[in-house]
Protein backbone atom coordinates (compact mmCIF):
# COMPACT_ATOMS: atom_id res chain seq x y z
CA UNK A 1 0.00 0.00 0.00
CA UNK A 2 1.13 3.51 -0.68
CA UNK A 3 2.23 5.62 2.23
CA UNK A 4 -0.29 8.23 1.18
CA UNK A 5 -3.06 5.73 1.56
CA UNK A 6 -1.76 4.78 4.94
CA UNK A 7 -1.54 8.42 5.96
CA UNK A 8 -5.16 8.97 4.96
CA UNK A 9 -6.27 5.84 6.75
CA UNK A 10 -4.50 6.98 9.86
CA UNK A 11 -6.06 10.42 9.72
CA UNK A 12 -9.49 8.85 9.19
CA UNK A 13 -9.00 6.50 12.11
CA UNK A 14 -7.90 9.29 14.43
CA UNK A 15 -10.77 11.51 13.29
CA UNK A 16 -13.33 8.75 13.89
CA UNK A 17 -12.00 8.00 17.32
CA UNK A 18 -11.98 11.69 18.08
CA UNK A 19 -15.57 12.11 16.91
CA UNK A 20 -16.76 9.11 18.86
CA UNK A 21 -15.08 10.20 22.06
CA UNK A 22 -16.21 13.79 21.76
CA UNK A 23 -19.81 12.79 21.15
CA UNK A 24 -19.46 10.89 24.40
CA UNK A 25 -18.52 14.14 26.13
CA UNK A 26 -22.09 15.36 26.24
CA UNK A 27 -23.18 12.16 27.91
CA UNK A 28 -20.30 12.04 30.31
CA UNK A 29 -19.52 15.61 31.28
CA UNK A 30 -20.04 16.46 34.93
CA UNK A 31 -20.71 20.04 35.77
CA UNK A 32 -21.04 20.50 39.49
CA UNK A 33 -21.59 24.22 39.35
CA UNK A 34 -24.97 25.62 38.38
CA UNK A 35 -25.60 26.92 34.84
CA UNK A 36 -24.14 30.33 34.13
CA UNK A 37 -26.45 33.32 34.66
CA UNK A 38 -28.70 33.82 31.67
CA UNK A 39 -28.89 30.15 30.85
CA UNK A 40 -31.03 29.39 33.88
CA UNK A 41 -34.70 29.98 34.40
CA UNK A 42 -36.32 31.85 37.22
CA UNK A 43 -39.52 31.01 39.05
CA UNK A 44 -41.98 31.53 36.27
CA UNK A 45 -44.74 33.50 37.88
CA UNK A 46 -45.68 35.39 34.77
CA UNK A 47 -46.72 34.19 31.35
CA UNK A 48 -43.66 35.82 29.81
CA UNK A 49 -41.36 34.05 32.26
CA UNK A 50 -43.16 30.79 31.54
CA UNK A 51 -42.60 31.26 27.85
CA UNK A 52 -38.96 32.00 28.54
CA UNK A 53 -38.73 28.84 30.60
CA UNK A 54 -40.07 26.76 27.80
CA UNK A 55 -37.83 28.45 25.26
CA UNK A 56 -34.80 27.98 27.45
CA UNK A 57 -35.64 24.35 27.85
CA UNK A 58 -34.44 23.61 24.37
CA UNK A 59 -31.05 24.94 25.34
CA UNK A 60 -31.04 22.73 28.40
CA UNK A 61 -31.62 19.48 26.62
CA UNK A 62 -27.97 18.86 25.90
CA UNK A 63 -26.93 19.68 29.43
CA UNK A 64 -29.57 17.51 31.10
CA UNK A 65 -31.48 15.06 28.97
CA UNK A 66 -28.42 13.89 27.06
CA UNK A 67 -26.23 13.82 30.13
CA UNK A 68 -26.06 10.58 32.08
CA UNK A 69 -24.93 12.24 35.29
CA UNK A 70 -27.83 14.71 35.23
CA UNK A 71 -30.46 12.06 34.57
CA UNK A 72 -29.09 9.78 37.26
CA UNK A 73 -28.90 12.71 39.68
CA UNK A 74 -32.56 13.26 38.83
CA UNK A 75 -33.24 9.65 39.67
CA UNK A 76 -31.51 9.99 43.02
CA UNK A 77 -33.52 13.13 43.82
CA UNK A 78 -36.70 11.34 42.70
CA UNK A 79 -36.36 9.08 45.72
CA UNK A 80 -34.75 11.60 48.05
CA UNK A 81 -37.53 14.16 47.68
CA UNK A 82 -40.26 11.50 47.94
CA UNK A 83 -41.47 11.98 44.37
CA UNK A 84 -41.70 8.21 44.23
CA UNK A 85 -44.18 8.33 47.11
CA UNK A 86 -46.88 9.83 44.87
CA UNK A 87 -45.71 8.80 41.42
CA UNK A 88 -44.06 5.42 42.16
CA UNK A 89 -41.53 4.66 39.41
CA UNK A 90 -43.71 6.33 36.81
CA UNK A 91 -46.88 4.32 37.38
CA UNK A 92 -48.50 6.85 39.68
CA UNK A 93 -50.46 6.57 42.90
CA UNK A 94 -51.91 9.63 44.55
CA UNK A 95 -50.16 11.45 41.73
CA UNK A 96 -50.70 10.67 38.04
CA UNK A 97 -48.70 8.19 35.98
CA UNK A 98 -45.69 9.75 34.27
CA UNK A 99 -44.56 6.84 32.13
CA UNK A 100 -47.43 6.89 29.66
CA UNK A 101 -48.25 9.28 26.83
CA UNK A 102 -50.89 11.29 28.68
CA UNK A 103 -49.65 14.54 30.16
CA UNK A 104 -52.15 16.71 31.99
CA UNK A 105 -50.14 19.90 31.53
CA UNK A 106 -47.67 18.94 28.83
CA UNK A 107 -44.70 16.62 28.51
CA UNK A 108 -41.92 18.84 27.22
CA UNK A 109 -39.01 19.62 29.52
CA UNK A 110 -39.93 23.28 30.03
CA UNK A 111 -43.48 22.48 31.09
CA UNK A 112 -42.28 19.73 33.41
CA UNK A 113 -39.85 22.24 34.93
CA UNK A 114 -42.74 24.60 35.60
CA UNK A 115 -44.86 21.82 37.05
CA UNK A 116 -42.17 20.95 39.56
CA UNK A 117 -41.23 24.54 40.35
CA UNK A 118 -44.70 26.06 40.66
CA UNK A 119 -46.85 23.06 41.52
CA UNK A 120 -50.28 22.42 40.04
CA UNK A 121 -53.74 23.01 41.46
CA UNK A 122 -54.83 19.38 41.85
CA UNK A 123 -52.21 18.47 44.39
CA UNK A 124 -48.69 18.79 42.95
CA UNK A 125 -46.71 20.77 45.52
CA UNK A 126 -44.46 23.65 44.46
CA UNK A 127 -40.78 22.89 44.91
CA UNK A 128 -39.34 26.02 43.33
CA UNK A 129 -38.51 27.70 46.62
CA UNK A 130 -37.24 24.48 48.15
CA UNK A 131 -34.75 23.09 45.68
CA UNK A 132 -32.16 24.73 43.39
CA UNK A 133 -33.02 25.22 39.72
CA UNK A 134 -30.26 22.88 38.63
CA UNK A 135 -31.94 20.08 40.55
CA UNK A 136 -35.34 20.90 39.05
CA UNK A 137 -33.85 20.50 35.58
CA UNK A 138 -32.29 17.21 36.66
CA UNK A 139 -35.65 16.00 37.91
CA UNK A 140 -37.36 17.15 34.72
CA UNK A 141 -34.84 15.19 32.69
CA UNK A 142 -35.49 12.13 34.82
CA UNK A 143 -39.26 12.51 34.48
CA UNK A 144 -38.80 12.53 30.73
CA UNK A 145 -36.77 9.34 31.00
CA UNK A 146 -39.64 7.65 32.83
CA UNK A 147 -41.59 7.85 29.61
CA UNK A 148 -38.58 6.82 27.56
CA UNK A 149 -38.03 10.38 26.31
CA UNK A 150 -34.48 10.98 27.51
CA UNK A 151 -31.76 9.86 25.18
CA UNK A 152 -31.23 6.14 25.57
CA UNK A 153 -27.53 6.34 26.33
CA UNK A 154 -28.12 8.84 29.14
CA UNK A 155 -31.15 7.19 30.74
CA UNK A 156 -30.53 5.01 33.77
CA UNK A 157 -30.23 1.28 33.37
CA UNK A 158 -31.33 -1.52 35.62
CA UNK A 159 -31.94 -0.50 39.21
CA UNK A 160 -29.93 -1.73 42.13
CA UNK A 161 -33.13 -1.51 44.12
CA UNK A 162 -36.18 -3.74 43.74
CA UNK A 163 -37.07 -3.69 40.06
CA UNK A 164 -40.68 -2.76 39.36
CA UNK A 165 -40.67 -1.80 35.68
CA UNK A 166 -38.57 -1.92 32.54
CA UNK A 167 -35.42 0.18 33.08
CA UNK A 168 -35.72 3.73 31.75
CA UNK A 169 -33.07 3.17 29.12
CA UNK A 170 -35.00 0.23 27.71
CA UNK A 171 -38.43 1.89 27.71
CA UNK A 172 -40.05 2.70 24.41
CA UNK A 173 -40.50 6.46 24.01
CA UNK A 174 -44.08 7.46 24.84
CA UNK A 175 -44.52 10.42 22.60
CA UNK A 176 -46.54 13.01 24.53
CA UNK A 177 -49.74 13.12 22.52
CA UNK A 178 -52.65 13.94 24.74
CA UNK A 179 -53.15 16.73 27.18
CA UNK A 180 -56.02 16.24 29.62
CA UNK A 181 -58.05 19.28 30.55
CA UNK A 182 -57.25 20.56 33.97
CA UNK A 183 -59.77 19.66 36.68
CA UNK A 184 -59.00 22.45 39.11
CA UNK A 185 -62.50 23.75 39.60
CA UNK A 186 -63.67 21.49 42.43
CA UNK A 187 -66.93 20.81 40.63
CA UNK A 188 -68.00 17.31 39.74
CA UNK A 189 -66.45 16.18 36.44
Amino acid sequence: MSSRFLDRALVLAVASVGALTSSGCERESRDFLPPKPGAEVGHAASAAASAAAIANAAAMVGRYEHNAHAVSAGKRLWTWYNCSGCHANGGGGSGPALMDDVWIYGGDAGTIYLTIANGRPNGMPAFGSRIPKDQIWQLAAYVRSLAGLASADAAPNRDDAFLTRTPESASDPQKPETVKPSVATGRPQ
Binding site: F32, P34, R76, Y81, R130, I131, P132, K133
Partner: protein, 321 residues
Protein backbone atom coordinates in the same frame (compact mmCIF):
# COMPACT_ATOMS: atom_id res chain seq x y z
CA UNK B 1 -8.49 17.07 60.28
CA UNK B 2 -6.06 16.95 63.13
CA UNK B 3 -5.92 13.69 64.90
CA UNK B 4 -3.60 10.79 65.38
CA UNK B 5 -3.63 8.84 62.14
CA UNK B 6 -0.87 6.38 62.70
CA UNK B 7 -0.90 2.63 62.47
CA UNK B 8 2.26 2.63 64.50
CA UNK B 9 0.72 4.44 67.48
CA UNK B 10 -1.98 2.07 68.67
CA UNK B 11 -4.33 3.55 71.24
CA UNK B 12 -6.44 0.52 71.94
CA UNK B 13 -6.29 -3.27 72.11
CA UNK B 14 -7.41 -3.89 68.51
CA UNK B 15 -4.79 -1.61 67.06
CA UNK B 16 -2.33 -2.98 69.59
CA UNK B 17 -2.89 -6.56 68.42
CA UNK B 18 -2.36 -5.53 64.84
CA UNK B 19 0.67 -3.53 65.82
CA UNK B 20 2.20 -6.57 67.53
CA UNK B 21 1.53 -8.67 64.47
CA UNK B 22 3.10 -5.99 62.35
CA UNK B 23 6.19 -6.00 64.56
CA UNK B 24 6.57 -9.76 64.29
CA UNK B 25 6.25 -9.66 60.55
CA UNK B 26 8.57 -6.70 60.28
CA UNK B 27 11.25 -8.36 62.37
CA UNK B 28 10.93 -11.69 60.63
CA UNK B 29 10.95 -10.18 57.20
CA UNK B 30 13.82 -7.87 58.07
CA UNK B 31 15.91 -10.74 59.35
CA UNK B 32 15.21 -12.78 56.29
CA UNK B 33 15.89 -9.81 54.07
CA UNK B 34 19.17 -9.04 55.79
CA UNK B 35 20.28 -12.67 55.66
CA UNK B 36 19.38 -12.89 52.01
CA UNK B 37 21.26 -9.74 51.19
CA UNK B 38 24.25 -10.85 53.22
CA UNK B 39 24.24 -14.20 51.49
CA UNK B 40 24.06 -12.48 48.16
CA UNK B 41 26.90 -10.18 49.13
CA UNK B 42 29.04 -13.10 50.21
CA UNK B 43 28.28 -14.92 47.03
CA UNK B 44 29.27 -11.92 44.98
CA UNK B 45 32.42 -11.31 47.07
CA UNK B 46 33.62 -14.87 46.96
CA UNK B 47 32.75 -15.59 43.36
CA UNK B 48 35.76 -16.67 41.41
CA UNK B 49 37.07 -13.85 39.27
CA UNK B 50 38.79 -14.25 35.97
CA UNK B 51 41.21 -11.84 34.29
CA UNK B 52 41.59 -11.20 30.64
CA UNK B 53 44.76 -13.22 30.31
CA UNK B 54 43.75 -16.19 32.49
CA UNK B 55 41.96 -18.97 30.77
CA UNK B 56 38.47 -19.83 31.97
CA UNK B 57 38.63 -22.65 34.46
CA UNK B 58 36.41 -25.17 32.80
CA UNK B 59 36.86 -27.55 35.65
CA UNK B 60 34.43 -25.52 37.66
CA UNK B 61 31.44 -26.40 35.59
CA UNK B 62 30.60 -29.99 36.27
CA UNK B 63 31.67 -29.74 39.89
CA UNK B 64 28.84 -30.06 42.30
CA UNK B 65 28.58 -27.61 45.11
CA UNK B 66 29.16 -29.74 48.15
CA UNK B 67 26.78 -27.83 50.32
CA UNK B 68 23.96 -27.48 47.76
CA UNK B 69 21.56 -30.02 49.17
CA UNK B 70 22.24 -28.88 52.71
CA UNK B 71 21.66 -25.26 51.78
CA UNK B 72 18.38 -25.99 50.06
CA UNK B 73 17.12 -28.14 52.88
CA UNK B 74 18.08 -25.62 55.47
CA UNK B 75 16.53 -22.86 53.38
CA UNK B 76 13.22 -24.65 53.04
CA UNK B 77 13.17 -25.67 56.65
CA UNK B 78 13.98 -22.21 57.83
CA UNK B 79 11.38 -20.59 55.59
CA UNK B 80 8.71 -23.04 56.64
CA UNK B 81 9.37 -22.47 60.26
CA UNK B 82 9.22 -18.75 59.76
CA UNK B 83 6.02 -18.95 57.74
CA UNK B 84 4.39 -21.18 60.29
CA UNK B 85 5.52 -18.75 62.89
CA UNK B 86 3.89 -15.92 61.00
CA UNK B 87 0.75 -17.99 60.62
CA UNK B 88 0.71 -18.57 64.32
CA UNK B 89 1.26 -14.88 64.95
CA UNK B 90 -1.64 -14.02 62.63
CA UNK B 91 -3.83 -16.55 64.37
CA UNK B 92 -2.94 -15.14 67.74
CA UNK B 93 -3.68 -11.62 66.51
CA UNK B 94 -7.09 -12.71 65.18
CA UNK B 95 -7.92 -14.30 68.49
CA UNK B 96 -6.91 -11.13 70.26
CA UNK B 97 -9.12 -9.07 67.96
CA UNK B 98 -12.17 -11.20 68.66
CA UNK B 99 -11.50 -11.45 72.37
CA UNK B 100 -12.31 -7.86 73.13
CA UNK B 101 -14.77 -7.97 76.02
CA UNK B 102 -17.97 -6.32 74.92
CA UNK B 103 -19.75 -5.81 78.19
CA UNK B 104 -21.37 -2.41 78.48
CA UNK B 105 -20.41 -1.56 74.91
CA UNK B 106 -21.39 1.68 73.28
CA UNK B 107 -23.38 0.69 70.22
CA UNK B 108 -23.09 2.80 67.13
CA UNK B 109 -24.89 2.22 63.86
CA UNK B 110 -22.55 3.59 61.19
CA UNK B 111 -23.88 4.06 57.69
CA UNK B 112 -21.46 5.02 54.93
CA UNK B 113 -22.73 7.48 52.35
CA UNK B 114 -21.09 9.22 49.46
CA UNK B 115 -19.15 11.05 50.97
CA UNK B 116 -19.87 11.24 54.70
CA UNK B 117 -20.41 9.04 57.71
CA UNK B 118 -23.76 8.79 59.46
CA UNK B 119 -23.54 7.62 63.07
CA UNK B 120 -26.63 6.70 65.04
CA UNK B 121 -26.01 5.96 68.71
CA UNK B 122 -28.28 3.19 69.86
CA UNK B 123 -29.88 2.78 73.25
CA UNK B 124 -32.13 0.33 75.08
CA UNK B 125 -34.68 3.14 75.16
CA UNK B 126 -35.65 4.40 71.70
CA UNK B 127 -36.10 8.01 72.78
CA UNK B 128 -32.46 8.17 73.89
CA UNK B 129 -31.07 7.39 70.43
CA UNK B 130 -29.51 10.24 68.47
CA UNK B 131 -27.72 10.80 65.21
CA UNK B 132 -24.53 12.64 64.35
CA UNK B 133 -22.12 12.71 61.43
CA UNK B 134 -18.42 12.34 60.74
CA UNK B 135 -17.31 12.89 64.33
CA UNK B 136 -17.77 10.05 66.78
CA UNK B 137 -17.16 10.35 70.48
CA UNK B 138 -16.39 7.27 72.50
CA UNK B 139 -15.59 6.85 76.18
CA UNK B 140 -12.07 5.83 77.07
CA UNK B 141 -11.83 2.29 78.31
CA UNK B 142 -15.27 1.15 77.17
CA UNK B 143 -15.71 -1.15 74.17
CA UNK B 144 -17.49 0.24 71.13
CA UNK B 145 -19.49 -2.03 68.86
CA UNK B 146 -19.95 -0.42 65.47
CA UNK B 147 -22.55 -1.81 63.10
CA UNK B 148 -21.39 -1.17 59.54
CA UNK B 149 -23.82 -0.56 56.70
CA UNK B 150 -23.65 1.36 53.45
CA UNK B 151 -26.28 3.37 51.71
CA UNK B 152 -24.98 3.43 48.17
CA UNK B 153 -21.59 1.88 47.33
CA UNK B 154 -18.87 0.03 49.22
CA UNK B 155 -16.99 2.11 51.76
CA UNK B 156 -14.48 1.02 54.36
CA UNK B 157 -14.05 2.04 57.94
CA UNK B 158 -10.44 2.63 58.97
CA UNK B 159 -9.25 4.43 62.06
CA UNK B 160 -5.68 3.18 62.09
CA UNK B 161 -4.85 4.06 65.66
CA UNK B 162 -7.85 2.18 66.94
CA UNK B 163 -8.47 -0.77 64.65
CA UNK B 164 -8.02 -2.37 61.26
CA UNK B 165 -10.19 -1.87 58.20
CA UNK B 166 -13.63 -3.28 57.63
CA UNK B 167 -15.81 -2.72 54.58
CA UNK B 168 -19.30 -1.25 54.60
CA UNK B 169 -21.15 -3.12 51.86
CA UNK B 170 -24.63 -2.13 50.63
CA UNK B 171 -27.19 -4.78 51.41
CA UNK B 172 -25.04 -6.38 54.09
CA UNK B 173 -24.43 -5.72 57.71
CA UNK B 174 -21.23 -6.36 59.62
CA UNK B 175 -19.78 -5.23 62.90
CA UNK B 176 -16.43 -4.12 64.18
CA UNK B 177 -15.43 -3.80 67.80
CA UNK B 178 -12.82 -1.43 69.17
CA UNK B 179 -11.78 0.29 72.33
CA UNK B 180 -9.79 3.46 72.93
CA UNK B 181 -7.55 3.15 75.96
CA UNK B 182 -6.10 6.64 75.80
CA UNK B 183 -7.97 9.90 75.49
CA UNK B 184 -7.30 11.76 72.29
CA UNK B 185 -8.49 12.49 68.79
CA UNK B 186 -8.01 9.77 66.23
CA UNK B 187 -8.45 10.37 62.56
CA UNK B 188 -9.82 7.81 60.18
CA UNK B 189 -10.88 7.72 56.58
CA UNK B 190 -12.75 5.73 54.00
CA UNK B 191 -10.48 2.97 52.79
CA UNK B 192 -12.38 1.68 49.77
CA UNK B 193 -12.65 3.79 46.67
CA UNK B 194 -16.22 5.04 46.63
CA UNK B 195 -16.33 7.74 43.99
CA UNK B 196 -15.42 11.29 43.26
CA UNK B 197 -14.65 12.44 46.79
CA UNK B 198 -13.37 9.24 48.29
CA UNK B 199 -10.17 11.04 49.16
CA UNK B 200 -12.07 13.57 51.28
CA UNK B 201 -14.19 11.19 53.31
CA UNK B 202 -12.49 11.41 56.66
CA UNK B 203 -13.87 10.77 60.06
CA UNK B 204 -12.70 11.51 63.54
CA UNK B 205 -13.07 9.42 66.66
CA UNK B 206 -12.68 11.45 69.81
CA UNK B 207 -11.96 9.37 72.87
CA UNK B 208 -13.24 11.24 75.92
CA UNK B 209 -12.75 10.49 79.57
CA UNK B 210 -16.02 8.89 80.78
CA UNK B 211 -17.39 12.03 82.45
CA UNK B 212 -16.77 14.12 79.33
CA UNK B 213 -18.39 11.45 77.23
CA UNK B 214 -21.53 11.41 79.35
CA UNK B 215 -21.74 15.17 79.00
CA UNK B 216 -21.32 14.97 75.24
CA UNK B 217 -23.93 12.25 75.02
CA UNK B 218 -26.42 14.22 77.11
CA UNK B 219 -25.90 17.23 74.87
CA UNK B 220 -26.44 15.23 71.71
CA UNK B 221 -29.73 13.89 73.07
CA UNK B 222 -31.12 17.36 73.51
CA UNK B 223 -33.09 19.03 70.76
CA UNK B 224 -31.54 21.93 68.90
CA UNK B 225 -30.94 25.18 70.72
CA UNK B 226 -33.72 27.67 70.05
CA UNK B 227 -32.70 30.72 68.00
CA UNK B 228 -32.10 33.82 70.11
CA UNK B 229 -31.48 36.69 67.73
CA UNK B 230 -33.68 37.93 64.91
CA UNK B 231 -31.08 36.83 62.40
CA UNK B 232 -31.00 33.34 63.87
CA UNK B 233 -34.80 33.18 63.77
CA UNK B 234 -34.77 34.18 60.15
CA UNK B 235 -32.10 31.56 59.58
CA UNK B 236 -34.26 28.86 61.14
CA UNK B 237 -37.21 29.92 59.02
CA UNK B 238 -35.09 29.65 55.88
CA UNK B 239 -33.59 26.34 56.95
CA UNK B 240 -37.06 24.87 57.45
CA UNK B 241 -38.66 26.31 54.35
CA UNK B 242 -35.96 26.19 51.71
CA UNK B 243 -33.44 23.58 50.62
CA UNK B 244 -31.90 22.55 53.90
CA UNK B 245 -34.92 20.71 55.30
CA UNK B 246 -35.22 18.67 52.09
CA UNK B 247 -32.19 16.63 53.16
CA UNK B 248 -31.14 17.53 56.71
CA UNK B 249 -32.68 16.98 60.12
CA UNK B 250 -32.51 19.30 63.12
CA UNK B 251 -34.31 17.88 66.13
CA UNK B 252 -36.93 20.14 67.58
CA UNK B 253 -37.53 21.91 64.28
CA UNK B 254 -39.52 21.05 61.20
CA UNK B 255 -36.43 19.75 59.44
CA UNK B 256 -36.73 15.98 59.57
CA UNK B 257 -35.13 14.57 56.44
CA UNK B 258 -32.40 11.93 56.53
CA UNK B 259 -30.35 12.19 53.36
CA UNK B 260 -27.63 14.37 54.74
CA UNK B 261 -25.79 14.83 58.07
CA UNK B 262 -27.89 15.54 61.13
CA UNK B 263 -27.33 19.20 62.00
CA UNK B 264 -28.86 19.33 65.47
CA UNK B 265 -25.46 20.04 67.07
CA UNK B 266 -23.44 20.87 63.99
CA UNK B 267 -21.61 23.78 65.60
CA UNK B 268 -20.09 21.42 68.15
CA UNK B 269 -18.22 19.54 65.44
CA UNK B 270 -14.69 20.44 64.43
CA UNK B 271 -15.05 20.01 60.69
CA UNK B 272 -17.67 20.08 57.98
CA UNK B 273 -17.96 17.84 54.99
CA UNK B 274 -16.18 14.87 56.52
CA UNK B 275 -12.97 16.76 57.00
CA UNK B 276 -13.24 19.04 54.00
CA UNK B 277 -13.37 22.38 55.80
CA UNK B 278 -12.81 23.56 59.32
CA UNK B 279 -16.01 24.45 61.10
CA UNK B 280 -15.36 28.17 61.55
CA UNK B 281 -18.01 30.83 60.98
CA UNK B 282 -16.42 32.12 57.79
CA UNK B 283 -15.85 28.72 56.26
CA UNK B 284 -19.26 27.55 57.37
CA UNK B 285 -20.91 30.36 55.47
CA UNK B 286 -18.84 29.60 52.39
CA UNK B 287 -19.61 25.91 52.67
CA UNK B 288 -23.36 26.52 52.83
CA UNK B 289 -23.25 28.87 49.86
CA UNK B 290 -21.31 26.54 47.63
CA UNK B 291 -20.07 23.29 49.04
CA UNK B 292 -19.05 22.23 45.55
CA UNK B 293 -16.18 24.66 45.70
CA UNK B 294 -14.55 22.64 48.45
CA UNK B 295 -15.74 19.21 47.56
CA UNK B 296 -17.01 19.02 43.98
CA UNK B 297 -19.20 16.08 43.22
CA UNK B 298 -20.89 15.65 46.57
CA UNK B 299 -24.67 15.64 46.79
CA UNK B 300 -25.04 19.04 48.46
CA UNK B 301 -25.90 21.60 45.78
CA UNK B 302 -24.85 25.24 45.70
CA UNK B 303 -27.69 27.31 47.12
CA UNK B 304 -29.64 29.87 45.09
CA UNK B 305 -30.03 32.31 47.95
CA UNK B 306 -29.45 35.99 48.60
CA UNK B 307 -26.36 36.91 50.67
CA UNK B 308 -28.49 38.11 53.61
CA UNK B 309 -30.35 34.83 53.69
CA UNK B 310 -27.14 32.85 53.52
CA UNK B 311 -25.75 34.85 56.40
CA UNK B 312 -28.88 34.21 58.43
CA UNK B 313 -28.72 30.49 57.81
CA UNK B 314 -25.04 30.41 58.67
CA UNK B 315 -25.74 32.32 61.86
CA UNK B 316 -28.49 29.93 62.87
CA UNK B 317 -26.46 26.84 62.12
CA UNK B 318 -23.54 28.37 63.93
CA UNK B 319 -25.70 28.60 67.04
CA UNK B 320 -26.43 24.87 67.08
CA UNK B 321 -23.86 23.82 69.63
Amino acid sequence: MNGVHDVLSPAGPQAEALYQLWNVMFVACTVVFVLTIVALAIAVWRAPRASERAKPDLDLHPRKVATLRRSVVWGIAGSSVLLLGLLLASFVADRALSALPLANAVRIDLVGHQFWWEARYESHSPELTFSTANELHVPVGRPVLVRLRADDVIHSFWVPSLSGKKDLIPGRESTIALRADRAGTYRGQCAEFCGYQHAQMALVVVADPPADYERWQALQREPARAPETAQERRGLELVEQTSCAMCHAIHGTRARARRAPDLTHVASRGWLGAGAVENTPALRAEWIANAQKFKPGINMPPLDAAPDDLAAMAAYLGSLR
